[in-house]
Amino acid sequence: MNSKSFYIEKFVDFEKQLNGDSKTFFHNLRKESIKKLNEVDFPTTKNEEWKFTDVTPIIERNFIPSNLSTKIEISKNEIDNYIFSGFDFHLLVFVNGNFVEGLSKINELPKNVFVGNLKTFQKEKENLFKDNINKFLVNETAFNLLNTSFAVDGFAIYVPKNVVIEKPIQVLFINGSEKENILVSPRNLLIAEENSQVSVISNYRGIKEEKYFSNIVSEIFIDKNAVVDYYKVQNENDNSFHIEKIQAYQKEKSVFNQFNITFGGEIVRNDINTKLDGENIEAHLYGLYMINGNQHVDNHTFVDHAKPNCMSNELYKGILDEKSHGVFNGKIIVRQDAQKTNAYQQNKTILLSKGATIDTKPQLEIFADDVKCSHGATVGHLDEVSEFYIRSRGVPQELAKSMLIRAFANDVIETIKIAELKEQINHLIFQHLHKIEI
């Protein structure tokens, strides 16, 4: 059975176990999505947007939607191995897409703030849910429809007008099962109202060796003057599949800082979109990915400048070892209205071995005449003269290489505002690449 028919069939079982939830607005969305999924196909490499990423290994398998699979128990001790620590944060934990309240820890928050799971949010803040869910997604793919069809839960964060949430919110997603190949469909929603501020760290971890598929959609609405820092750290199993669409929608004078740190999987695809729909908006997209083995990581970004006087700045860096394959596609649209736009994009890659490859493509579509746009892409190797310099001080070659990897990644690492997070990511980089840590 092809995977599409499989999912459509599974949807019937899935509906049955939803009970009361099947009468909701959310469920109507699911039903519409599964219907649409019936009509569209999963992308192939003939599709320009998927030219370098062949998803056949994902769609030739039938992943059991996690809500129909055997439940996994995770202990408090286990959690400690996965979370970023050493700083104060609120914690939300999801195991295979389902919220685990017992493992989560929300400290005191200002009035009317909501930090929790989407399932509760749809009940407690029904109107906000209806007004924002599935509202801004562009270029909806079959994977996005699959997410909406089977999404049950994910994080929901609502920051009302003029509220600043001081501590970052860490959301730990633990995915995988030793019993079956499962499909995990987290659905995340972040609403930052006028003048508000919030910092969120999504931390994706894989635990079990069986292949699984994380298929995620995250929607982020950033109103006037609001500032959102959104860290995504993808650190799942090397043989897992991971597809996420992050869709942000920004109003005037808002700031969106997105940090996309990816450690890879068999296939990872990130679509990171932001629409700048107001004046004087800032969007910063930072990306760092390090991969090895036969891993494949595809980062697609899309910055849509719709109004004048905005700036976007993008810096993506890849470290590719062994036979890994990287893809970067940076799309920027500057619409006719968007005069005085400043849009920058840089993509730099180093290849640590002969077998590693990168496909990189800027995609600029500019319809306004008074704009500043620049983009650049470089692909290189670790610099031999620098390596000699370091070794000539008595430092062994392997460690010299580590220092140069750190040097290469530095300008992205430096953008991480939480010092402890920065340090722990630094550690993960060397651990993941099997290099000596500096």
């Binding site: 000699f388 000539s392 750190r406 530095n410």
Partner: protein
């Protein structure tokens, strides 16, 4: 301490060093002068083990050991040090981390205890002060955002920290103002002792007023065409290289 015999080396297939013979004893300072492109930096790189330079003939003994067989880090641990003509920047790695790593590698090799962070800090502060460097640069990334002069000083700081036996200075004076030049020369003079030796590459007599050489050699097209004492440097300053080059060409006729 260092014996170079008929050393020949290629860069990208082209012969740059065409048979160098030189003997440097402990306690001595040798200067190498010569026109641009004559092979001075090449000699420095070959001696410290840069793999982009291919040795085709000859032998180099460092305290009786075959230097050319060692990788760059082993040469450093044995006591070789090159102050680079163009020091490298390493963003993300602080001067402190870099030097502590290097120092401990060298100490491990010699069978010594690693330095404690506290010992290290007081040591590096002491040396930095000696060179008139701001202590803040200890925690700054290696050479990142350093001015030309600061980079050269940082090379000398590394020398003072790593305590090599044999030091190559490759145009350490270039880009230094006169005060910085004196400070750097002072650092070298403080460090100099009967167990160390120096090979100083420079274009200018000026440096040699402060770091006084025992011998001066002129390198031209990959060969030492003249050796003398410090007076030779003065003569070169006055007359340039032409007369020497002519002499050399006459001899070859």
């Amino acid at each position: 301490m260092l014996v170079i015999k008929n050393l020949k080396a290629n860069v990208e297939g082209k012969e740059i060093l065409k048979g160098i013979n030189l003997e440097i004893n402990a306690g001595e300072i040798h200067a190498i002068m010569g026109p641009n492109g004559s092979g001075k930096s090449t000699l420095a790189n070959v001696l410290t083990g840069n793999e982009n330079y291919e040795v085709t003939e000859g032998e180099v003994l460092f305290e009786g050991k075959n230097l050319l067989e060692m990788d760059p880090e082993t040469r450093a641990r044995e006591g070789m040090f090159l102050a680079f003509q163009y020091p490298i920047e390493i963003p993300g790695v602080s001067n402190a981390t870099f030097l502590k790593t290097a120092l401990n590698e060298i100490r491990k090799y010699k069978g010594q205890e690693e330095v404690t962070p506290k010992e290290f800090l007081s040591l590096i502060k002491e040396k930095a002060n000696l060179l008139g460097m701001d202590e803040a640069m200890i925690s700054r990334y290696v050479n990142v955002g350093f001015s030309g002069g600061e980079k050269k000083r940082n090379e000398i700081l590394q020398m003072l920290m790593l305590e090599p036996k044999f030091v190559l200075l490759d145009e350490t004076d270039s880009g230094l103002d006169i005060d910085a030049l004196k400070i750097v020369a002072n650092g070298v003079n403080i460090y100099k002792n009967p167990d160390t030796a120096f090979l100083v590459v420079t274009h200018y007599q000026r440096l040699l007023n402060y770091i006084v050489p025992d011998f001066v050699h002129v390198l031209y097209k990959g060969r030492i065409i003249k050796s003398g004492t410090k007076e030779l440097a003065l003569e070169l300053e006055e007359k340039g290289y032409d007369w020497l080059i002519k002499e050399e060409e006459m001899e070859n006729v």
